[in-house]
Symmetry: C2
Subunit: 442 residues, 2 copies
Amino acid sequence: MDAAEFRRRGKEMVDYVADYLENIEKRPVYPDVEPGYLHSLIPTEAPLEPESYEDVIKDVERVIMPGITHWHSPYFFAYFPAASSYPAMLADMLCGALGCIGFSWGTASEATLVSLLAARCKVIRRVQATNSSYSESDVFGKLVAYTSEQAHSSVERAALIGGVMMKQVPTDDSYAVRVDMLKKMIEKDKAAGLIPFYFCATLGTTPSCAFDHVVELGPLCNEENIWMHIDAAYAGSAFICPEFRPLLNGVEFADSFNFNPHKWLLVNFDCSAMWVKKRTDIIGAFKMEPLYLKHENQESGRSIQFTHTHWQIPLGRRFRSLKLWFVFRLYGLQGMQAHIRKHVALAKEFESLVRADKRFEICAEVIMGLVCFRLKGSNELNQNLLKQITDSREIHLVPCQLSGRFVLRFAVCARTTESSHIQQAWRHITQLTFELLQEPSH
Amino acid sequence: MDAAEFRRRGKEMVDYVADYLENIEKRPVYPDVEPGYLHSLIPTEAPLEPESYEDVIKDVERVIMPGITHWHSPYFFAYFPAASSYPAMLADMLCGALGCIGFSWGTASEATLVSLLAARCKVIRRVQATNSSYSESDVFGKLVAYTSEQAHSSVERAALIGGVMMKQVPTDDSYAVRVDMLKKMIEKDKAAGLIPFYFCATLGTTPSCAFDHVVELGPLCNEENIWMHIDAAYAGSAFICPEFRPLLNGVEFADSFNFNPHKWLLVNFDCSAMWVKKRTDIIGAFKMEPLYLKHENQESGRSIQFTHTHWQIPLGRRFRSLKLWFVFRLYGLQGMQAHIRKHVALAKEFESLVRADKRFEICAEVIMGLVCFRLKGSNELNQNLLKQITDSREIHLVPCQLSGRFVLRFAVCARTTESSHIQQAWRHITQLTFELLQEPSH
């Protein structure tokens, strides 16, 4: 869908929304469907080729609307109000277009926390089952979690929130965690009376897009009764391309897995997808059931309670799957794969430009859409270069630290980035470099 | 703004969004403003009367755009991608209109958790400062938090997640917590060697919209070094009306306060607003600073880092304040007050209908937009009535439990609910009641 079609479809959608709200009281306020009714109405896989917009919109009435509780019907008197107004909807349209991420990104951090809390709950029960003299706080004080020294700061924060100790595992020269180092730490900690219970592996780290060796790490975690969570926030979307699937080998050993479609799968922020091997592990850690949240089919087992209070920290959530559904259908698997592959190709193109310039070096293998590079020379020189880039406001990059060195991260981000933008960005960087190296101080 | 104006403005917004995205690469990707630039451009208070839509839209370019980092510019190469596509935006428009809350509501639950974690961090530091022999897990095992037996289930869940004990304080005959009962519990727990550290008061409980007596409870909490959090998720919006402000007396003793504009302030889900007395308490509990999240003005004190990683559990967040800004300006304070007052008046109207019917009773004082009522008689009878209501699909209510009795909650929810809907709802309820009482079993 291009801008011209969006103009047309957007205006149709505005009318659809207004029609919906003007006539909402004619709809039955509460749905008359059985839990699981969707299963027979939707395919089990995303379409290979894009579908037509007309088909999607037809299915809104055929598939979605029958299952909707109309919270904005004037006959809705349950719970408390869910606010709604036309100005707020207009603002949200603009908000979606801006799609800026409040100086940061991600709700993969929440998935990490949820998995850590589930693992904590599980290990406390297990330890108390065999050592009935242990109080909960006795166990608490001995728990130890692990993650890569390259992992996202939200992993460490999850441990802080969960009140448990977390240790950073050193990485190899490609910035990935290997099994021998984790094994050594676990053995040492066990000998000291600690209880290892959680490891957060990363597939596609934030600094350099490194991939921990989960195919080796998984069996160790399983053997040691350690919950293995995989954080694939960025790179996870790439696994829709068969050529990247080998990077996912070992996922079968994981207890939980998370990636963010809002990063690289064409779905506006926010949308984070979490998978868990045994859903009772999560439910057990979060279960709470007051009367006003009970509903009839809860115990029947006919529907998985995805949206109830047991799976996450906030109680409510937006109807985010609608975005996924629109995107899957209107791009098709092929369209989404093309998007991923284009970004990777653009990153490789940028990598070639860097490699062809003797003043620069590439600092980590380019696997996805991220290129880590720097000027050969001091950290200060690279800090100056980044400052020039930032001040010029033509392109925007952020740095990272790899092996103590200040490194520039060039991540292919926008849906609309083309080769011309890569070329222009590189011209701009080399121009600033030229000026910087002219200065007397260098 | 009515539906007709929304149709016009919505279509203009679609064009604005398409224009923005088609021309995004002409904008400087990174903003050239000083932190705090907004202060001089926006008023300190919401307008009393609605402003014109033209003025708001003009200010998008004048006020908002200069501060925006254009995440979807093809020259944005920082962090990782923030996905965006036209289909996802269309879906989000529909999602906003449906505004359904995934079987539940609220991110007040997150505010509760954040305040509890901050309080936990603070008390652990305080206790360790005076008893250096105590380990963190020693303190952990002695911590005790309190909340009303009428509090939302998410409060208890916050304690579960935070790994601390939480006790339920019994309420008086209006379902509110009074100081004597909390005081008794605290004294008993202290005598048993426990460390009271957190009390979550509720202004407007979920079952019956009861108001804990924070004006008495606050001084006790302050004296005992107990963090007092106020959860006013629903009723908090009503405090924009002076006549409801006395219910807020005692807020000056609170360490943190939360309400959900997405419940009753015309802002689409989700949008939860949290205030904290000493922001360093929150920052201290969550601080993490990797290089890729650092930015220049962070330490200058010129801007409060609202959007950084220290204030909440997910790392990123949507640009939710945009919705508030549209709503404040296009309704004005008067328009928002009228909305609150209309809902309260409709609830009083429903209350009168119930009171005029001898078969029914009102179960709690009607203060805001919630009416708790039941048929005089057994819980089973009321369960049957609710089942008839639910099965008919004409109106939608949920139940609650008050003093062991099964009670129906009638909450005025939709922006568009009018007296005619209240009258029709009551006719419907009395018709079903008539049929129910005809049955031989009654």
